[in-house]
């Protein structure tokens, strides 16, 4: 029984990004401003980044999606932390 109340769109999208098998992202923040939706966070690949937009568009086609999610960096670290 999924409601279409616009005020709940951000909540619906957050749940969908977590539960849709294409995304399964719990670490992406959804911010709704009028009919614009902003996605913030970091995911492991470019493909996963694009799936976020896809899932949001399917669920809320009338919203403009701003996908500001980055792909997480995995370079070698340049320093170590000394703990004593």
């Amino acid at each position: 029984m999924s409601s279409r109340t616009p005020q709940y769109a951000a909540a619906r999208l957050t749940q969908a990004l977590a539960e849709d098998p294409r995304t399964a992202e719990l670490g992406v923040r959804v911010q709704l401003r009028g009919d614009h939706v902003y996605l913030v966070g970091e995911v492991a690949s470019e493909e996963r980044r694009q799936h976020l937009t896809e899932v949001v568009r399917e669920l809320e086609p009338e919203l403009t999606v701003h996908n500001e999610v980055g792909v997480v960096e995995c370079r070698e670290p340049s320093t170590a932390e000394e703990l004593d």
Binding site: E42, C74, E81
Partner: protein, 261 residues
Amino acid sequence: MIRIAAVGDVHLGEDARGRLRPALEHLPDHADLLLLAGDLTKHGTLAEARVVAEEFAGLPVPVVAVLGNHDHHADVPEQIAALLTDHGIHVLEGESTVLRLDGAAVGVAGVKGFGGGFAGKCGSAFGEPEMKSFVRHTEKVAARLADALHAIDVPVRVALTHYSPVTDTLRGEPLEIYPFLGSYLLAEAIDDAGAALAVHGHAHFGTEHGTTPGGVRVRNVAQPVIRCAYKVYNLHGPDERGDQSASATGGQASPHSTSRA
């Protein structure tokens, strides 16, 4: 000195195969041991676990891991653990392992951990059965962590969890979800046994640095937080006499596990 590399939340899958391997090539130049703080996969499937196993197999330093909530999503955490074990990765769930690294020994105790919240702002084992089982699961895993830490018979102990023991390393996450990100019972277990370092993941929007109430250093190594392949922590023991005995070649793992299933 013991050089510990750590990363969590790598969330590997078939679309991210080989993503970390190039950065692991020089791992032994930086560290004697690699800790994986859970959420190794995205959906917790065996296919994804195979990608993880290949990514971290055959490294010249021992690899010790705990699983995260994502690694439980397909309900096959035991099979994932077995697969990783087959590839030479030590998977801990309420157990500890002692690694002898060129003379310096370190014991790692690991559990996934769970949520529940933090002192004075947490759930209680009261009311509905769902609530009681939620809180009791946390109590159980925290008790296992304490036992596993106590079972380590060398002076340097490290606690490895997926969920956070403290709120310090959650800064950046919304306060409202703190109870789903960790539990103070994990910190209590760590402080009870004592540890040189506590490493966790799970809080992708959190902060790297924190401390338990008892003064144990806590590090959130979720990859979106550390923004690199892994972080390195050099532990200088209290009995260190300026002899840099740890060489660049890692060491032998001597399984010294205390199973508490």
